[in-house]
């Protein structure tokens, strides 16, 4: 099968090129998620990348149809496709961000879906290009599918890991250049590897590779630097005269920028009381990925405004909280509130070290402005794992208005998973309260009441899980016009505490949602809604029949758990048609973008995948010769689609599981994703050994059974292991995670190359088509996994994966003798 263009081409060279290219592709995926989260919003970033990845499926189809001419010139087609990825990766992003796509306008402007489609097309080109090379390599070396897949996966895993480090070390534009360089290097290896070329041709190839390597470096910086949408907070802040970015930092958790505006000072005080006599002082704006505005406040400024936000509530329930734990230090608002209201010692936890560093930079100039040091101790950690591993106790644990970074960083989840607002997480925080202490959670107020009621129910279940007899007596909640604050007591709130709460609410014009002994007439008095919906909802959630109330309610209120950690998801299917019909009358804000985008991704992905899988069949004529000896195409399709779906199901469910244990969203990529891919690669490389060990049994069946066994065992084993090892240092936890991921990953890597090799021996022309089906299924799978988890949880996602592996084993291509070479 070796074509003219492959003469003299070394196999190790091709394999190394595949590894480099895979590293580039996975790095590009992660990088694009970051870049597009800055230009647009991370939900859209997710959808755009998912659809663009269908370029992989398209490449499979293309190679399936054009395999003969492409294979005949393998060196040139592989080489130029890899060079195309190298040049295309940075160029496609530059072009994509110049398109006038405005996500916010998509409901109003008929041109926007067209621009979105253009974005898909542009960004799918680099993926298409890389995938052309990869599909050709698999077609070329189907007999060595295991070894090739090993290079592919190990490369991808190292690409993921490498990108996490690159994002820490380099500016985004430079990381994009590195990705481009990987593509060029991959093409270069194949084009220039030894032998069989005339001098002139070789010179031309050399020139092309040199140009490919030089191009990313030569592209102007402003093409590659992401420009946030003009509607994002940072862009808006910069429209003020003389406003400018005074400091910025990049990291894998986001791009943090500090803005000073001397003529129209930045002032941020979310939901400040309408009774407040003073507002916030002039602050420095703090923006993550160009959005999510918050503020850096100097410690020596007039801080009285901090008394007039709902988050000040716990200070009126407690005599004088001596020790305060702030989860989400950010620009310092909660730390300053604690100091201002008399805390003696404050522990401040911040996930992103770049935020703390930036705050230090900004406050360094003015003596007395910094709030760090003295009685304030800062900790760089994930809030939940910090609390889980601590043995200390606090009078007040204050969860600031911070939202999950994980979705933005990972770029693989449609909806914000939050491991901060689950039943299990609140339980962890409750365990760290001193006797008489309070846990306080401040959230944005949404109308009609949605996540505030969900939070209340989550708190109720957390208290019940800790054995509370009367959870309602340990809960209180108030609202301003823009925020709600929930307090959960280590014990029941006494009369003094309730009096303090009522006096605070009255003085600041806040409304009571719930406290022990509240009457309906006490609610909805100062910031009035058409009806006291918050109080009624709270009373029902804390009453005897929350399930019954939730069933009748327009939004989904069931508590978030670690298995279904979608705190922000409150949309009910049954309400969706009503909201969409009302889009022009203001119904649109009630539709959750994350959810709509997830469904849209799924639908678009499924349609495109179906087309990409079916169209090549028109061109792939029925194989000549004994039809009985050839595998039925539907079996091939089901086999490779099942594997594509199942692999990603396991990967995504495990990323979720291990992220809690490892306690940092970045580890989900650097350890779980990269680890699984590398282990799967090692497994792929060991399929010959498996075939020998399996004796006469079909090795795919053996691998599928092994996966079922290990995953099934983990369902029981993991909670126990995680519990036992939760307190260990991070290096030990990573070691435990890798030890656990090893066997799963190793087995996961086997079925695909086994199937590909079997197919290559009997119907080599179907190999690229099968490879494309697998790629399409992987794309659909990522969205489908989230969709399933959203409705029934991550455990059923694993269950589905096992079923799919059983299906794959049932329809597997029959093994045949090693293909003649």
């Amino acid at each position: 099968m070796t074509g003219e263009g492959a003469r003299g081409l070394s196999r190790p060279g091709v394999f190394a090129a595949v590894a480099l290219l895979s590293a580039g592709v996975l790095g590009y995926e992660i990088l694009l998620a970051r870049l597009l989260a800055i230009v647009h919003w991370h939900h859209f970033a997710y959808m755009i990348i998912a659809v663009a990845l269908l370029g992989f499926g398209a490449a499979g189809s293309l190679v399936a149809v054009l395999q003969r001419p492409l294979l005949d010139r393998f060196r040139w087609t592989f080489g130029s496709a890899a060079l195309g990825f190298g040049a295309g990766a940075p160029l496609a992003f530059a072009l994509a961000q110049s398109l006038p796509f405005n996500a916010l306008e998509i409901a109003w402007d008929r041109a926007q879906p067209g621009w979105l489609f253009a974005l898909y097309l542009v960004l799918s080109l680099p993926f298409l290009s890389a995938a052309l090379a990869l599909a050709l390599a698999f077609r070329m070396h189907a007999a060595r599918a295991g070894a090739l897949y090993r290079m592919d996966l190990v490369g991808a895993g190292l690409g993921a890991l490498g990108m996490v480090f690159l994002l820490d070390a380099l500016a985004l534009a430079d990381a994009l250049r590195v990705v481009g360089g990987l593509g060029a290097a991959s093409g270069g290896i194949v084009l220039l590897s030894s032998g069989g070329l005339r001098r002139l041709v070789r010179g031309g190839a050399l020139l092309a590779v040199a140009a490919g390597l030089a191009l990313p470096a030569a592209l102007p910086d402003h093409w590659l630097r992401p420009q946030p949408s003009p509607y994002k907070g940072l862009s808006l802040a910069l429209t003020a005269p003389d406003a400018r970015i005074v400091a910025e930092r990049h990291g894998p958790l986001g791009w943090i920028a500090a803005v000073e505006s001397p003529r129209v000072p930045f002032r941020h005080a979310p939901g400040l009381s309408l009774m407040a006599e003073v507002g916030p002082p002039a602050q420095t704006g703090l923006f993550t990925d160009g959005g999510a505005p918050s503020a850096i406040t100097p410690a020596d400024a007039d801080l009285r405004y901090l008394e007039a936000e709902t988050a000040a509530l716990p200070y009126h329930l407690l005599d004088r909280p001596s020790r305060v734990l702030v989860l989400g230090a950010g620009g310092g608002a909660e730390v300053l509130r604690a100091l201002h209201l008399g805390a003696r010692a404050v522990d401040a936890v911040e996930l992103n070290p770049e935020v703390l560093a930036l705050v230090r930079d900004v406050l360094a100039d003015a003596p007395g402005a910094s709030w760090e040091g003295g009685t304030v101790h800062t900790h760089v950690a994930d809030a939940r794992s910090f609390a889980a591993r601590s043995s200390e106790q606090w009078d007040l644990i204050q969860i600031a208005l911070v939202d999950s970074f994980s979705a933005a960083a990972a770029g693989v989840h449609a909806l914000d998973e939050s491991l901060l607002y689950t039943v299990e997480a609140l339980g962890v925080f409750l365990d760290r309260l001193a006797p008489g202490g309070v846990l306080a959670v401040t959230r944005w107020l949404k109308l009609p009441p949605r996540d505030s009621l969900k939070l209340l129910w989550t708190a109720r279940e957390a208290l019940e899980a800790r054995g509370a007899d009367d959870p309602a007596s340990r809960l209180a909640m108030i609202r301003g016009w823009k925020t709600t604050t929930l307090v959960i007591g280590a014990r029941s709130f006494e009369r003094d505490a309730i009096a303090g709460l009522r006096a605070f609410a009255a003085a600041q014009g806040f409304d009571l949602i719930w406290h022990p002994g509240i009457a309906e007439g006490d609610a909805n008095r100062r910031n009035r809604l058409a009806a006291p919906e918050f109080h009624r909802g709270a009373a029902a959630i804390l009453g005897p029949d929350p399930e019954g109330f939730a069933a009748r309610y327009k939004f989904a209120l069931r508590p978030a758990t670690d298995d279904r950690p979608f705190f922000f998801h409150t949309l009910k299917w049954s309400t969706l048609p009503e909201l969409l019909a009302l889009r022009a009358q203001g119904g649109l804000p009630l539709v959750e973008w994350g959810f709509v985008i997830l469904v849209a991704t799924l639908v678009q992905g499924a349609i495109a995948a179906a087309l990409l899988i079916l169209l090549p069949l028109l061109a792939l004529r029925a194989p000549r010769g004994a039809a009985a000896a050839k595998p039925a195409r539907w079996r091939v399709a089901i086999f490779f689609a099942s594997l594509g779906l199942a692999f990603l199901f396991v990967e995504i469910a495990f990323m979720q599981r291990f992220a809690v244990f490892l306690g940092h969203p970045l580890y989900a990529i650097a350890v779980v994703l990269a680890g699984l891919l590398v282990f799967a690669g090692l497994g792929a490389g060991a399929i010959d050994r498996l075939a020998r060990l399996a004796g006469g049994r079909p090795p795919i069946t053996v691998a599928a059974a092994g996966i079922a066994l290990v995953v099934g065992a983990y369902l029981g084993l993991l909670p126990w292991v995680f519990e036992a090892a939760q307190g260990w240092p991070v290096a030990a936890r990573i070691a435990v995670a890798l030890a656990l991921l090893g066997p799963v990953g190793f087995l996961l890597g086997m079925p695909f190359p086994l199937g590909l090799r079997a197919l290559g021996a009997r119907a080599p022309a179907l190999v690229p088509w099968a490879w494309g089906i697998n790629a399409c299924a992987s794309v659909v799978s990522a969205a489908l996994a989230t969709f399933i988890a959203l409705h029934v949880g991550f455990t059923p996602v694993l269950g589905c994966a096992l079923v799919l592996y059983a299906v794959a084993a049932a329809v597997q291509p029959k093994a045949a003798a090693e293909a003649p070479r």
């Binding site: 009035r528 909802g537 009302l582």
Partner: protein, 253 residues
């Protein structure tokens, strides 16, 4: 505002403003009657229909006739970028540059209605933008003072209002956080610039018995309207108005 003045002003505007230029606009505006009159009337009907449908939440089935008349007079097509003029009377928000938008007509009408403006009122607006809201208010009150952070937007707004003959509006470029103490107190205040909070100086500059409206949401999506009322005794209360038709929360009727 008189229709004839509107047409004349439109001519001048089209000739002078960078925002609404082009020979087509000039000849269109020069036509004897306003070519956008039908579109504007249709827009007003669409706003009335929205109001009727959202009666449950806004607490009434129709907006004040004075407000609807003002909506029918202000030439909205001269407040949007020229390339979007054909969309000016659709019931939707439109971009005006600098990350800002001209609000959906229904939201403008509802906000204006909630302010219950009286002919003798003194109004303050934080966030001029295209000045469309200021023009609607100018039709209904004695004087409007408005402050815009972005200097070019402020300049354009001032010129546009001047050419349209709105001599009762004063535009200033700068920081509106501290209100406009020289003209305080105000009977009505609009805060259209997306803010994390309501500046305390503005509440202080609201006259007892006065009303303030703040849209909450993102540039293209107004989630809810906050209506702040100062009682004659100075006490501040507020209401949240959801500009959406939504049947009761727990199903059924």
């Amino acid at each position: 505002m008189r229709p004839t003045v509107t047409a004349l002003a439109a001519l001048a505007l089209a000739a002078l403003l960078p925002f609404a230029a082009g020979p087509a606009a000039i000849s269109a505006a020069a036509a004897a009657d306003d070519p956008f009159a039908d579109a504007r009337a249709a827009m007003v009907r669409a706003v009335a229909l929205d109001a009727e449908q959202t009666a449950v939440w806004i607490g009434k089935s129709a907006l004040a006739p004075r407000v609807m008349e003002a909506m029918g007079r202000v030439p909205r097509h001269l407040f949007v970028p020229p390339e979007l003029q054909s969309l000016a009377y659709e019931n939707r928000p439109l971009p005006i540059g600098y990350g800002q938008t001209i609000s959906q007509p229904y939201i403008v009408a509802l906000m204006t209605d909630l302010l219950a403006p009286e002919p003798g009122d003194m109004a303050f607006e934080l966030g001029t933008g295209s000045a469309y809201q200021a023009a609607v208010l100018a039709e209904l009150v004695a004087e409007v003072k408005t402050i815009e952070i972005v200097p070019p937007l402020a300049t354009n707004a001032a010129r546009r209002l001047e050419l349209l003959g709105y001599d009762n509006v004063e535009v200033r470029a700068g920081d509106g956080y501290h209100g406009w103490p020289e003209h305080a107190p105000f009977d009505v205040i609009v805060v259209t610039a997306a803010a994390s909070h309501v500046p305390p100086p503005l509440i202080a500059q609201l006259r007892p018995g006065g009303r303030m409206v703040i849209p909450v949401g993102s540039p293209f999506l107004t989630q809810q309207l906050l209506l702040v009322e100062k009682g004659t005794d100075g006490t501040v209360t507020s209401r949240q108005i959801l500009p959406v038709i939504f049947v009761p929360l727990t199903g059924g009727h």
